[in-house]
C-alpha cells in the first residue's frame, strides 16, 4: 500500500477530518479541520469521500511525496500555485509547499486518504488530548503515513486535472478579513457604544493564535457587569471577551465550555476565513441575523451539491 512521506513537516502539520463532534459530554473538543468546507472540497477534487482524512498544514514551508502515483489537491492559504486544482504526483515526486504570503492554513487531500486508525469515531488529531491522527501528535520530518487505496480512477491527461474548485473556496487567505457575526448570549452585557465599537473598529490578530483560538487586540470592550458567569458551552466561532476586554475568536480545538462573556459568534460560512487568521492580520466584524446565517449556509451547501454532481460526472466519464 502507498505511503505519504513527510520530507519537511513545517511548523504544525496534523491529520484532520471532520472531527469528533459527539463527545463534548466527555470534555472532548470537536476538533477536525479548522475549515471543514475546505476539507470537503479538497477531498471531492481528488475523488475521495468528502470526510476523508487529510493533512492540515499551518504556515509552511513544508514538503511531501508519495511512494506511488497519487492525485492530490490543496485548498486554503496560497502554499502552491495549484490551489483548488488536482495535480498528479509521480511516485516519489516532491510536492514542495511554500510559506504563504497570506493566510495561515492549507488542506492537502490525497486520493485514497490517510489510512490512520480511527479513535472515538474520527481520524482527527487532538493535540491537547494527545490522541487521534498520527500517534496523537503533529507530524515530524521523516514520518511515513499509510494511504488508503485510491478511489475510482480519476482520468485526466497531463500533470493537472481540467476541473477546479471555485476560487473563493480554493483560496481563502486574506490579510484583511470581514467576519460576519450574530449576537452572543452576553451581547447585552455590553453598552450600545461598546457594541458599536465592536462592529466598527478593526482588530489585529495577536501572537497567541493556535488551533484553539485567535486572540485579537484593539479597542477594549468593557462589560457592564462584574457578575461571574457559570461556565457553559462554547463552540468554534464563539467570540469571548477576556477579563482584559479583548476578544478571542474560538476555533475547532477550543474547550467545550467557557466562563467568559460571549459577545458574538462567527457564522458557519465564515469559519473558513477565521481559520486563516494569523498574527497581525486585520479583522472586522459585520452583523447579520440568524436567518441570513442559515440562508448563506443553505446556499453554500446547494452550491457544494452542484459541485459534487459536476465532479461525479467528470470522474465517471
Amino acid at each position: 500500500m502507498g505511503k505519504i512521506i513527510v520530507r519537511r513537516a513545517g511548523p504544525l502539520t496534523t491529520v484532520q477530518d471532520l472531527g469528533r463532534p459527539r463527545h463534548r459530554f466527555a470534555g472532548i473538543a470537536p476538533g477536525g479541520a479548522l475549515d471543514p468546507h475546505a476539507l470537503r472540497v479538497a477531498n471531492l477534487l481528488v475523488g475521495n469521500p468528502e470526510e476523508a482524512a487529510l493533512l492540515e498544514i499551518t504556515l509552511g514551508p513544508a514538503e511531501f511525496s508519495c511512494t506511488d502515483e497519487r492525485v492530490v489537491a490543496l485548498c486554503g492559504a496560497e502554499v502552491h500555485d495549484s490551489l483548488g486544482q488536482p495535480i498528479r504526483l509521480a511516485p516519489n515526486e516532491s510536492l514542495p509547499l511554500r510559506a504563504p504570503r497570506r493566510g495561515c492554513r492549507a488542506w492537502l487531500a490525497i486520493a485514497g486518504g490517510l489510512a490512520v486508525p480511527p479513535i472515538l469515531g474520527s481520524f482527527a488529531t487532538d493535540l491537547r488530548g494527545g490522541f487521534g491522527g498520527w500517534k496523537g501528535r503533529a507530524l515530524r520530518d521523516g514520518d511515513e503515513l499509510p494511504l488508503g487505496p485510491a478511489p475510482s480512477p480519476l482520468k485526466f491527461r497531463g500533470p493537472s486535472a481540467p476541473w477546479r474548485a471555485p476560487a473563493e473556496w480554493a483560496r481563502t487567505g486574506a490579510r484583511h478579513a470581514v467576519l460576519r457575526v450574530i449576537p452572543g448570549a452576553e451581547w447585552d452585557d455590553f453598552a450600545p457604544a461598546t457594541q458599536t465599537i465592536f462592529l466598527h473598529e478593526s482588530y489585529a490578530v495577536a501572537a497567541a493564535a493556535d488551533r484553539m483560538g485567535a486572540r485579537l487586540a484593539g479597542a477594549t470592550l468593557p462589560r457592564l457587569t462584574n457578575s461571574e458567569l457559570l461556565s457553559e458551552a462554547v463552540a468554534p466561532g464563539t467570540i469571548q471577551v477576556a477579563h482584559d476586554g479583548q476578544p478571542i475568536v474560538l476555533l475547532g480545538d477550543c474547550q467545550t465550555m467557557g466562563g467568559y462573556p460571549k459577545i458574538a459568534h462567527v457564522i458557519t460560512v465564515d469559519l473558513p476565513l477565521a481559520a486563516q487568521l494569523r498574527p497581525n492580520d486585520i479583522v472586522r466584524f459585520q452583523p447579520v441575523n440568524a436567518t441570513e446565517a442559515q440562508e448563506l449556509f443553505a446556499a453554500r451547501e446547494a452550491d457544494l451539491a452542484l459541485f459534487r454532481v459536476g465532479l461525479a460526472l467528470r470522474v465517471a466519464r
Binding site: 462554547v234 465550555m257 457564522i267
Partner: protein, 221 residues
Amino acid sequence: MSLEITPLGDSALIVRVGDSLGEVLATQRLLAGAKISGVEEVAPALASVAVFFESPSALTNATATLQALLRTRRPTAPATAASRVVEVPVCYEPAYGLDLLPVARHTGLSPREIALCHASGEYEVRCVGFTPGFPYLSGLPKTLTTPRRAAPRVAVPPGAVAIAGGQAGIYPLASPGGWNIIGRTPLRLFDPAREPAALLRAGDRVRFVALTETEFARWEK
C-alpha cells in the same frame, strides 16, 4: 422551572435551567431522548444544556419542535438511585499534594486535616470539560474553600486532585492549570483507547479514599 433558550452561534442553542444538577440532567435526558432530527449532541454544563445541531439548517428546522417539547413537557427529576458511585483513591502525601501548604495557610487546617476533610466529602460530577475527562465536582466541604493559585502552573501532573473556590476537580492529563493540588490519584480519568474514554460523567457521585505512598506505588504498577 424556568427555561431560557439562547442561541450559541448559528448551529447550537443553550437551554439555561438553573444551578441544579438534577434539572440539568433531566433536561439533557428529555432533549436527547426526544431524538430530534438533526441534533448532533446534547451536552450538559453547570446550569445549562447545550444542543448542538448538524448545521444551521438543522437548527432552523428543529427549533419549533424543541421549543414545543420544552413548553409542554416539564423535565422530571431523575431518580437519584440511578447515579453511579465511583471511588477515587488519592494519595494526599506532600510529594503529591503540591499545594497542601498554601491551602493549610488559607484554611487554618493541617495537611492531614485537609486530607481527612476532602475525603469526607460527598461529591457529584456537575459536568466534564476544560480538558478531556476533567470532572467539575460539587460537594467540597466549605472549610476547604480556597481561591485558585495566583499564578497557574504551566504543567499540572496527570491525576492531580485539586480544589479552587468551592469546587473540586481532577486533572486527567498533563496540562496547565491554576487549581490547588492537594493529592494525586493513580486512576486514569481519560483513556481514548477505552470505551467510554472518560471515567466520569455528569451525574456520577464520587468518593475519595486516602492511599498511603506505598499503596499508591502498588496502584501505579
